[in-house]
């Protein structure tokens, strides 16, 4: 039983019906806007919308939670560094004279003495966290709600050679198998007295490194078999082929693309004209 199976949502929703290309446009716009925005309020708002969308689309809360947990140490580091050191940049950007101190260390402390954590720095840190989260979550929203076949057809339709699109989909197909293989090799090693549970991270890393050789050898044998299978099915990699799935853009898809473009324009005008989205801007 593969624990690494691609977590495709099994719920049929409006998101699974939107064409891959429309979803990519929407995700790209989202990512771009999130990249530019520095306002903690606006990025937080956008993040909440993205998260709700993901949940409605059927991405498991468990998955979101796992992403958050994985990124938590990185985010803590980000908050601290921004909180202590972003002050200068923010002063320069906003043109303000004074920052609001939250806490500072006594002068006589070695190395960190006199450092001050500022409210603005922490807020800026939060904005950075929110924007990276938006980018991290937009991708699964697109991938998990799209059938791989539709993805392949979508890629081909935007001009990517079939061979490349096929390799892309084959990766989705065979990666879970690869992870299973890694698991079973480690298991076999534990069954031969390797005390994996008593190892530190460094030793564990060494164990993983040793697996590379059998894994690659196995992969070579497998890829040769796969090629025999593909050739037996008349696969040649040629783009001159037909597709079972049709990728026709529906009104819904056009609506999504138009809405995305409208949102991008609106965000751009608001940003350039009214400073909305800038750090310490009107919002």
């Amino acid at each position: 039983m593969s624990s690494w199976m691609l977590r495709t949502v099994d719920r049929d929703s409006v998101f699974t019906r939107i064409d891959f290309r429309a979803k990519v446009v929407a995700a790209a716009v989202l990512t771009l806007v999130a990249f530019v925005w520095e306002s903690p309020v606006l990025t937080a708002l956008l993040l909440v919308i993205v998260m709700l969308t993901a949940l409605i689309a059927g991405v498991k809360p468990d998955y979101l939670w796992r992403v958050l947990r994985l990124l938590a140490p990185f985010y803590l580091f980000l908050l601290l560094t921004q909180g202590f050191f972003a002050g200068e940049i923010i002063l320069a950007r906003t043109g303000e004279e004074m920052l609001t101190p939250l806490l500072s260390f006594p002068e006589q402390w070695w190395l960190i003495g006199g450092a001050t954590m500022t409210l603005e720095g922490v807020l800026y840190g939060f904005a950075v966290i929110f924007k990276t989260l938006i980018m991290v979550l937009a991708l699964p929203l697109v991938i998990f709600t799209t059938d791989v076949n539709a993805m392949v057809v979508g890629l081909v339709k935007v001009g990517i050679p079939y061979k490349v699109a096929f390799v892309f989909s084959a990766t989705f197909r065979f990666f879970p198998l690869l992870f299973d293989e890694i698991q079973s090799i480690i298991e076999a090693q534990r069954l031969r007295g390797l005390a994996f549970e008593r190892m530190g991270p460094l030793k564990r890393a060494r164990v993983y490194a040793r697996i590379a050789v059998p894994l690659i050898l196995g992969a070579i044998v497998k890829s040769q078999m796969t090629e025999v299978v593909l050739q037996s099915k008349a696969f040649s990699g040629s783009s001159d082929r037909t597709y079972l799935h049709e990728a026709r853009l529906t009104a819904l898809d056009y609506a999504v693309v138009l809405a995305s473009i409208f949102f991008l324009l609106a965000a751009a005008i608001a940003y350039l004209g009214f400073d909305i989205g800038r750090f310490a801007g009107p919002l």
Binding site: R190, L191, F196, E197, Q231, K233, A234
Partner: protein, 588 residues
């Protein structure tokens, strides 16, 4: 009869190989026939199959002599993609053959590659799925299918091309008995109803005897014999000389012939065997005489009372909610040889993985030597319980056979002299001394399986668990492995074997646990278990032919009828005949 494919004086050497895999081989495949291809491992069966769609030599290269034509096309002149239209190819492992994410896409894949119009593809998908009885699964992910269904999907994908010839290379080697039967029945139907020509290579003697029109025996890359299943399978000596196994029915009557009960034509199918037995009975067996007593078991040891392994109301639920085990309790005593049987998905592997703490119970308790596994680590348990898993290749990770076998000993920090002693012993026991410095992956599959066993044995565990050790082995390879288990058992070890190849286990296992859908259906001595046909059927297992043959003449519920092997049946029949004749003579 029209010829659909032919090989004319074909010889072939793989790149960098000095000896030919195929040697001046000529064969004609006739339209509409079901041709069975048999032969020991290394006979060249797979290579022969791959010449038919040009993979050999177009993909592999190497040196090729002679000529192969399929549907009038020369396999050297046409690209593989053209030949693929005429020859559907099905290989052993369904996992690796399925490349798509849904059933319908898998069937459509080859059609898309050949640029068939979408409307035509939409017609062919339901047609192909109906032919293999997979209607209604179009939108399913292939992972949701069982092993037999997956292999049928692979067949459907090949059928969608409407080929003239379907080539199946060991299509049932990795399937459980239900899956294998499904595949054989579908192939048989395609042959009878659509007139599709079939070439099927494999070791399933009973099935080939039943379904094939003609059998070709290959050995050392040469065609040794071609004939009807009756001709080939009744030539028991020919089969044994080539490390092949005759159907059990045939072997039973062959043995009877040896002990002076003449049978003119050796039957190769169960129904013919039952009829032949009836005839012997009519000829002069007096059914009122008492049954002869079965010979005592040669390797029965009385097990110790202390349980080595024990589970108490074990329940296991996987993360996705599947209930794999639903409350199982039993003990295994020191020195027992236990067979665990049941269809795929019955929970056999899930069960034994608990003994090694690779899985933890959802509810219930697991003990090894009276200690709950919760207090132990995997590596602690591994010193005392050796586990040989299913696929040898994912248990091999060293660059030499020697390093593989000593891996555990180095982990457990034995002194070098001790490591050397154990490695040598282990290699000796498994007949691997010659290949000590070779790379494990450069050796044949049979050797690789033995390397894994050697590596586990080096730890000198007291209990050994073998999970499907004979899958993918030919008859000879399977026997070599099982003989090792018997030797270990005789040396006092506790042995557990998981398999659904029931016919292999008489003479080895003593006790049988039959599992079905996560429950323990039966726990009995092997003779009783093999004759509990209802229980076996409930978990889609079939008893060996010898058991069914025995039941056709002896079924009064006494222990004397619990025969397991062709040897048992032959000796029973000859003694009944003898007894009847003695009485007849006495009356005169």
């Amino acid at each position: 009869m029209r010829t659909i494919a032919s090989l004319n004086n074909v010889s072939y050497l793989y790149p960098r190989s000095l000896s030919p895999v195929l040697h001046d081989l000529s064969l004609e495949i006739h339209e509409g026939e079901f041709l069975g291809l048999i032969g020991p491992t290394g006979a060249g069966k797979s290579t022969l199959c791959l010449t038919l769609n040009g993979i050999v030599p177009q993909f592999y290269g190497g040196r090729f002599f002679g000529r192969v034509t399929v549907a009038g096309l020369d396999s050297l002149d046409q690209p593989i993609s053209v030949l693929a239209r005429h020859v559907g190819m099905i290989l052993e492992d369904p996992e690796i053959q399925i490349t798509a994410f849904s059933v319908e896409n898998e069937v459509a894949f080859a059609l898309e590659n050949l640029s068939l119009p979408r409307d035509e593809i939409l017609v062919r998908i339901p047609e192909a799925l109906a032919a293999v009885r997979l209607e209604g699964t179009e939108k399913k992910h292939p992972h949701q299918l069982s092993g037999g269904q997956k292999q049928r999907l692979v067949i459907a994908a090949a059928l969608a091309l409407r080929p003239q010839l379907l080539v199946l290379d060991e299509p049932t080697a990795q399937l459980d008995p239900v899956g294998a039967r499904e595949v054989f029945e579908v192939v048989h139907e395609l042959n009878r109803e659509l007139g599709l020509t079939i070439l099927l290579s494999g070791h399933a003697a009973e099935e080939l005897a039943e379904y094939a029109d003609r059998i070709v025996l290959l050995s050392g890359g040469r065609l040794v014999r071609s004939g009807s299943p009756d001709e080939i399978y009744s030539d028991v000596k020919l089969l044994m000389d080539n490390n092949l196994r005759p159907p059990e029915v045939t072997r039973t009557f062959y043995l009877l012939n040896q002990i002076d009960v003449p049978v003119a034509n050796l039957p190769v199918r169960l129904d013919a065997g039952v009829a032949a037995l009836r005839e012997i009975w009519d000829r002069g067996v007096d059914d009122s005489l008492p049954h002869p007593v079965l010979p005592a078991e040669a390797n029965t040891r009385s097990p110790d009372e202390t349980p080595v392994l024990s589970v108490d109301n074990l329940i296991h639920e996987y993360e996705d909610g599947t209930r794999a085990l639903r409350g199982i309790s039993f003990d295994v005593g020191q020195g027992e040889y236990v067979l665990i049987a049941g269809q795929n998905g019955a929970g056999k592997t899930t069960l034994v993985r608990h003994f090694l703490k690779l899985l933890e119970p959802t509810a219930g308790r697991v003990f090894v030597w009276g200690q709950p596994t919760g207090s132990l680590t995997v590596s602690d348990i591994a010193r005392r319980i050796g586990y040989v898993g299913q696929n040898p290749d994912s248990q091999i990770f060293n660059a030499t056979v020697e390093a593989e076998v000593s891996f555990a000993l180095r982990n457990l920090e034995y002194p070098p002299a001790e490591v050397e002693r154990r490695v040598s012993e282990s290699l000796e026991l498994l007949d691997l001394r010659e290949v000590r410095r070779r790379h494990p992956l450069s050796l044949p599959r049979g050797d690789r399986a033995r390397i894994v066993i050697a590596a586990v044995l080096a730890m000198e565990p007291e209990v050994l668990i073998f999970d499907e050790p004979t899958t993918g082995q030919d008859y000879h390879g399977a026997q070599v492995i099982l003989d090792i288990t018997r030797r270990l058992h005789r040396a006092g070890k506790t042995v557990i074997v998981i398999t659904h190849q029931l016919y292999l286990m008489p003479g080895y296992a003593e006790r049988v646990l039959i599992m079905g859908e996560g429950t323990l259906l039966l726990d009995a001595p092997i003779r009783e278990a093999y004759h509990a046909t209802d229980v076996l059927e409930a978990t889609y297992l079939r008893p060996p032919q010898a058991v069914l043959l025995a039941q056709s003449v002896c079924s009064d519920g006494t222990g004397a009828c619990l025969m397991l092997t062709p040897e048992d049946v032959a000796s029973y029949v000859s003694r009944r005949l003898g007894d009847s004749m003695d009485r007849g003579n006495g009356h005169e």
